[in-house]
Symmetry: C2
Subunit: 987 residues, 2 copies
């Protein structure tokens, strides 16, 4: 079905020339060569040019609707086999397989050479871990790489070569994949012996490129970088200045007892810089000032000034900058998704509309076709049923137009109200009473109280037993109490099931949580009873089962504590906070992904740099539990904080340990210990790695996180306050994103949709374009003669492309050619920006000026050219003045004239402060706020300021005087302006 037509080709060429200036290279030849079946250009053609195969159209429509549902781009191939491939590629199984491959390839890092499969990462106790045999991880990796190659191939094929070339991410994907495969083959050929495996560093790329949200977040971060850089520059300046001041203050003196500060923190430039950088993170806060502070109180001022300014002001300013950049970021995503959805639906309509009625001008689709398509679409059954029901309501109309068609899919944006199944009806009075009691709200409260009591019991016993070892404890009372409580829980559960019915019980989420834990508790309790029997002897047999009694009891207690969380939905404020957190987790996926990428890269890099760098003293492994004076006396030369605090398990010897170490640095506290240790054991330059990681994780990522929390919370809070009545209800139902944003998002306009559709690289829908007729005698003058359809069309498209805002288009296009995005809850965008956007559909005044929209070419500045306009204007004035009979009152005509459009009128300057204007006569061709542009009979273009001039306008003998000073409005503004008929005029 690859029947690209000549027209299709030419449209593409046109759009490259005019509309889509971002393509860059016209490349006509190669493009034209792809079109195989030449096709004549019909006048009334309003269909894709592929043949009239009904099933193909149906298939296309189905795929477009599916794209719309999942917010996917529709810019893919649309022939039958490609569509099958597309549906197969986006089937749940395939996408799941791809996700699995990404997961597996990332998880390999735990198993590969510095294997993390040991119980501890402390080099003193670590046993040699199980290393996978050579070839095992490599073969798994090879499999994954094969999956990626397949993914790349399918993706590239589906979007076509043209789009592929434009997509930087796809090219990057190719490069990374190639590099990985080469590295993999190298690894195979060297029998798993090479030191640095580059492909480990490249792996996170597979995760990145598969998520459009992450790519977008990355772009957002990239945009923020310049501003962050400026603050970091300021921080650097601050640091440098204070380092110099510090070195001046704490110079080495003659008296050795006053050199404490110099010796420990300001001995040389790198040390001084490090000390103050660490102070910026507050990680060495009181320590760094203690030696100087011991000598004199005054020195504390230096440190306090530094950290107040640096930590509180500048670091928080960074938060503010990042938050400022990320405001409205979620909202924007939703906006893009909506555009994609509308586009998909519109495309489906266009495809269906030409089926059968290829000659019809009015675009319509048959209702039965729509119904058939809907049956074939894969979507959630609830929405499918709703849409089909709606379609059937239109069955009487036979056809539907695009508005009705679009309205069908508004069902998708609607809230799905989750209804709980009706409770069962009991005839027995006793059962009814039980049902009433246990479906009452107070029962839930009582249940919470019992859960609290249980937790308190456990807590009390724990506190009483805190000093005893696990073997010495007496489990008898604890077990008896737990048994009673668990029995009560079971009773509560069964009575609730009785009250609500099983399905009703399970339709509440917290009941599911509750019931699951209760059953688990019961099973565990039975296990305990079977294995250890009642009464528990004080000396129970030592672990004759898989788990010891203590382990089982511990598990039971943990579950009981965990079950206590059921109280959260019943406390309103906690509910709000908890639901904010839940939303946050949803929106956090992109950030978490980027965090994973960053962690992964730094961990792999850290392993490569520092693997095995720190070797604990061998004697230590024997006397590990000895007191500290032993350690210090043996290793007094190299004893830093790291050794004193026994941070040995934090090292770069395997992947898992590296992750934990990086996390500890992200948390910032005591990170200087790691930096110090590694710079002592390796070189001073190790500090660079740690500072980089600190900047990336703690400064960048944590601030991003704060920004996201602020964004989410503030939106959520506003939302919960604006509908506080139904707050409790609402959180229990599923709320779709679009509904929450409904008042803030803008629906894409018809024009936008059609323009996007026309730019589709594979589907060529020919839409009707405007074309007016010019009087033949003017054709040669204006150069806009009745060209062929094709030229006219290209002109129109170019005109539209020129008149539309340029800045928005590339961004939109860019986001449109990626995968779908679903996000939830943000606060509304700032009103200023919005107002601006709304008003600025067209070009701004500045842009118009730059494009010279208002300039009239010299060859067009001819009086005769504008005479027809003047005649038109006369007709217009006569019609609005009700015929302009000689008897009409002058006031009335005056009133009408004041609000009329003057373009085309013959104006004469009768009075003016500037005498040279007086007497100028001509046809008004353009009216601006402060000036008239007129063409005189001598074919001269004159610009006359309105201010301080009086103009005479003549219509069929009526001469009206216009006071320019009172007329300083744009033509469009004047029509709604109230004029006073009389007024003092000062010239």
């Amino acid at each position: 079905m690859e029947t690209d037509s000549l027209l299709a080709g030419s449209i593409n060429v046109d759009s490259q020339d005019y509309g889509a200036a971002e393509h860059g290279q016209p490349d006509n030849g190669s493009h034209r060569s792809r079109s195989r079946t030449p096709h004549s250009v019909g006048d009334n053609e309003s269909c894709p040019v592929e043949g009239g195969d009904k099933t193909l159209y149906m298939q296309q429509a189905v795929v477009f609707i599916e794209d719309a549902i999942h917010y996917r781009s529709i810019n893919h191939r649309v022939d039958a086999s490609s569509l099958c491939l597309h549906r197969w590629y986006y089937s749940r199984l395939c996408q799941w397989g791809l996700g699995l491959a990404i997961g597996v390839v990332l998880l390999l890092a735990f198993v590969e050479h510095p294997s993390s499969l040991s119980s501890t990462s402390d080099p003193r106790y670590r046993l040699p871990p199980w290393e996978p045999p050579c070839g095992l991880t490599e073969s798994i990796e090879g499999l994954c790489l094969f999956v990626f190659a397949l993914d790349l191939a399918v993706k590239s094929y589906l979007i076509g070569w043209e789009e592929f070339r434009k997509s930087k991410w796809l090219i990057g994907y190719t490069v990374v994949l190639t590099a990985s495969i080469i590295d993999w083959m190298l690894s195979i050929s060297m029998e798993c012996d090479e030191k640095l495996r580059v492909r480990r560093l490249l792996r996170p790329f597979f995760l990145l490129q598969n998520s459009s949200l992450m790519k977008k977040t990355l772009k957002c971060i990239k945009r923020t970088l310049p501003e962050i850089a400026s603050v970091i520059l300021l921080l650097a300046l601050h640091l440098c200045l204070f380092t110099m001041i510090g070195m001046l203050l704490f110079a080495k003196t003659e008296e050795p007892e006053r050199n404490g500060e110099w010796e420990l923190y300001f001995r040389n430039l790198p040390q001084a810089l490090t000390s103050l950088l660490v102070l910026l993170t507050t990680a060495n806060n009181p320590d760094v000032m203690i030696p100087a502070y011991t000598l004199n109180r005054g020195y504390s001022i230096f440190f306090i000034t530094f950290s107040v300014f640096g930590t509180y002001f500048l670091m928080n300013l960074l938060t503010a900058i990042i938050y400022n950049q990320f405001r409205g970021y979620l909202m924007m995503s939703v906006q893009t998704s909506i555009l994609r959805r509308r586009l998909g639906i519109r495309a489906a309509f266009q495809v269906l509309s030409c089926q059968g009625t290829s000659a019809a001008i009015i675009e319509q689709v048959r209702v039965d076709t729509v119904l058939e398509v809907m049956y074939r679409v894969n979507m959630k059954s609830y929405y499918k049923a709703a849409i089909i029901k709606e379609v059937q309501q239109h069955a009487a109309d036979v056809h539907m137009d695009h508005k009705v068609f679009g309205a069908l899919f508004e069902q998708l944006d609607k809230d799905r109200v989750k209804e709980h199944p009706a409770p069962p009806q009991y005839s027995n009075a006793f059962l009814q009473k039980i049902q009433f009691i246990f479906s009452h709200y107070y029962t839930t409260l009582a249940g919470n109280a019992v859960a609290l009591a249980n937790v308190i019991c456990i807590c009390t016993i724990l506190v009483l037993n805190a000093e005893r070892s696990t073997a010495e404890r007496d489990y008898y009372y604890l077990e008896v109490i737990n048994c009673c409580f668990i029995f009560w829980y079971l009773l509560e559960m069964s009575l609730k099931i009785l009250a609500f019915g099983l399905r009703g019980y399970l339709s509440y989420r917290n009941n599911v949580f509750d019931g699951f834990l209760t059953i688990l508790l019961m099973v565990l309790q039975i296990t305990i009873l079977v294995n250890y029997s009642v009464p528990f002897s004080k000396k129970q047999p030592v672990s004759h089962a898989v788990m010891s009694l203590w382990d089982l009891v511990r598990l039971v207690n943990l579950l009981i504590v965990f079950r206590f969380l059921r109280i959260i939905p019943d406390i309103k404020l906690m509910n709000l906070v908890a639901s904010t957190l839940l939303d946050l987790v949803k929106n956090l996926r992109a950030f978490a992904g980027i965090l994973v990428v960053v962690f992964y890269v730094f961990a792999v890099f850290g392993i490569w740099l520092f693997e095995g760098a720190i070797k604990p003293p061998t004697s230590m492994s024997i006397i590990s539990n000895s007191t500290m004076d032993n350690i210090t006396s043996n290793y007094s030369t190299t004893c830093g904080t790291y050794e004193q605090l026994e941070y040995w398990p934090n090292n770069f010897d395997d992947f898992a340990a590296a992750i934990i170490l990086l996390y500890n640095i992200m948390v910032v506290n005591n990170w200087q210990a790691f930096m110090d240790a590694y710079s002592r054991y390796t070189t001073e330059w190790a500090k660079v790695y740690f500072v980089c990681w600190w900047l990336t994780s703690s400064v960048m990522w944590v601030n991003l996180f704060v920004a996201l929390i602020l964004e989410n919370f503030i939106y959520k809070w506003d939302h919960s306050h604006s509908c506080s009545m139904t707050d409790m209800e609402r959180t229990r139902y599923e709320t779709s994103v679009q509904l929450m944003f409904k008042e803030h998002i803008e629906e894409p306009t018809e024009e936008e949709l059609l323009r996007q559709l026309q730019q589709h690289p594979h589907l060529h829908i020919h839409l009707q374009l405007l074309q007016a007729k010019n009087p033949p005698q003017l054709t040669h003058v204006l150069g806009v003669g009745n060209k062929s359809k094709k030229v006219a069309e290209s002109f129109t498209r170019a005109f539209i492309a020129n008149s539309m805002k340029k800045s928005a288009a590339p961004f939109m296009e860019d986001t449109l050619s990626r995968k779908a995005v679903i996000l939830e809850y943000t606060r509304e965008k700032r009103p200023k920006a919005k107002r601006k956007r709304k008003g600025g559909k067209g070009l701004s005044a500045g842009e118009k000026r730059r494009l010279k929209v208002f300039d009239i070419k010299p060859e067009h500045q001819r009086y005769e050219l504008f005479l027809p306009l003047h005649n038109l204007w006369k007709q217009y004035i006569i019609s609005i003045c009700n015929g302009l009979r000689p008897l009409s009152s002058p006031q009335l005509v005056q009133q009408k004239l004041l609000k009329a459009d003057f373009h085309g009128a013959i104006l004469t300057v009768v009075r003016s402060k500037c005498p040279s204007y007086v007497g100028t006569t001509g046809i008004l061709v353009q009216e601006f706020k402060h000036t008239f542009k007129i063409i005189t009979k001598e074919d001269r273009l004159k610009v006359i300021p309105k201010k301080n001039s009086v103009f005479a306008v003549e219509v069929n003998g009526f001469v009206s005087h216009v006071y320019g000073s009172k007329f300083e409005y744009r033509a469009s503004e004047r029509s709604v302006k109230k004029f006073k008929v009389k007024g003092s005029i000062d010239l």
Copy 2:
């Protein structure tokens, strides 16, 4: 001049009864008794009732205008002597004296008994400090208390007893002052020997009550507390759950080597709670998990889960909540200030307007009076000149009304553009060339480059000399280089003065900074040259001056480094950040004040609790520089982090040390060391004090600070982006706050101003009120007869008070009765709230329903009462239908009727889905969106839904049918609605 009239009294009583419901107690008797000169109630009286003394009015006007300028409340006494007192009290000297007294009383804490006047706070080295002799501090304090007593007396007198009783802050002031004086006398009588001086705890109150901004911030914080509490509750729950899980996980086992975690962090409940609480602040991050993590990697999950959820999610949620509460807080303050200013100006106008023309109805003031008043007002000379100039422009009009008068003072809101004096004109060509070169922008850049070069030189020499002691260094090169640079700086300065002229040079702020430092540098350099002469011998004489050579050189270098800051205004982004910081400092005064209060209270409390609690081992003072193994071996039993890290100078032994200690806890890092030490040396309960301080400072205050930075920065950023062109320019000029907010603040309405003026407790302005005449025959029915003026007035006031929004009034009133507030820059308030506010000038639908605005009393439900309305309506319809002649086209009438108001029409239900409605006829008395309320001839009120009914309307024989289903709009909405004349009607 205390001539309160009867009328004044009665107005007050009325306003207490109706308008100002918040007063609570009517208290007529005592109030009436205050009015001394009975005064007859005139009809046209529009003046304050005090006698017609012209100078008094002038004085009042002057004071009101001064109040307006400084945004002060005008609710003070207005008689001549009080006005003098008022002007004296608010004179710069008095206010400065009061501020000084507050400062002195706060600073006393440094000198009093645990005196901070020692060079170090380390108990090992501390010499006994100088203690002031008994009676010195007490006498100073007594003086300050006397000043406060005077302040309180004047303040109370000025606002009057009525207002004093209502002001909680003033009552608090009295109580605190009394307590302080009693405590002070006790202290005197015990000869400075009592242990706890309560008045030290009370002192910060004096600071608080003197700043309205702080009081407002406190109120804001109070409002935020419930939400903060909910998150803290969640945090507590989180902490408790994880403590239980931790105690279950890390229970004592049989094998002692696996008990590390239990022993160190989870031995018992308080220890486990403390460990996890400290982990929440990340202060013991890697340490707390090390023992468990050494055993097994898996345990790290517990700690990471805890801190990610607690620290990252919940703590940041706290930030979000606080930020959310503080959004718009600055904006609101500006709004209040504007109201105060307008009120003051309006009051001045009212006072002036009745002077001389006491019988005139139209309120006007004479221009010459205004001019005279303006000459007597104390204000900035620039604005004074501008306003007087404006007044003189109106000299021709003799009188001005309140609008013109108000407009005069808009000068105050305007930007004062700071103009630099013109550079001097030189005739000499050489001088002109120099002038051109040195006023060029590149010269500034070159100057910056030279400054940078100097800093780099110093840095290089510092790095080279880092390891040498101060005595060993060679100062020759450094001094030579510095001399050269300082010479260049002097040259640059003098040439710039030549180029700009001295006044022109000083009009740039960075030139002042630059010039001052340059002169200081020159002085220092000359001192060095004089004292130590050139060339510096390697062995200079040991400090034969006050400062050693090194000290002087150090000072020079510090100043040079400091001077380098002049580059900031020349880098754009840095300029923005720096100016944000400067703005922040202005807005921060309130927060800083509250911080001072909190620090003060906690420090005094801490000294009382912990003074001298920690005693360093005496042997330490001798071998303080010995190595660590000595320490540990001697004091292994009580050796915690505090002792190991030698935190001795951080203690509660004097005020200064306590402040530093509290600061260190606020910074959070290693705060557990202090908590641990003090709980070991005193009792476990000491932890409560530290946790409280952590919550107050680190959790509350730091988050408030972040909120403020966000607020400031985002507004500033938006502002700088919206006017990025003139950004550089703008920051150099003084921009007034009001100008920045101009588009966002709402001007108070006329009505609001007058209402506020009427509620003035001392000035009694009688304003004209609306009173319509009712037809006499209806008077008895409606119960709104032509009562006496007084009653009518009270009715009107009550009606206004009822119809106005209640929620806003108390808040406004409350903020109005405090001192002025000047704040700068906030971002605009959220548009939703704004829109709501704008739309909601009146009552909301719900409020109307609650107030039963729409209810018609049963006794008024009479057909005859509404017949006049029907006649009125008929006239109205006939007039809009151009006379309704028999020949008028039915379509036209129909069209007119569709948009007409129907109140008063006689409606008949002709068709309806509900048959019982059919035939009902009556006068329409109220039209709602979905229903008509009609009064039938039988005097019954009927509510008929519009939906599914057809109504007939009859006007002079024309019968028009109205389809209710198409008519479901409010009357006001319908008039702008487009109706289709024909349409399908389904009943």
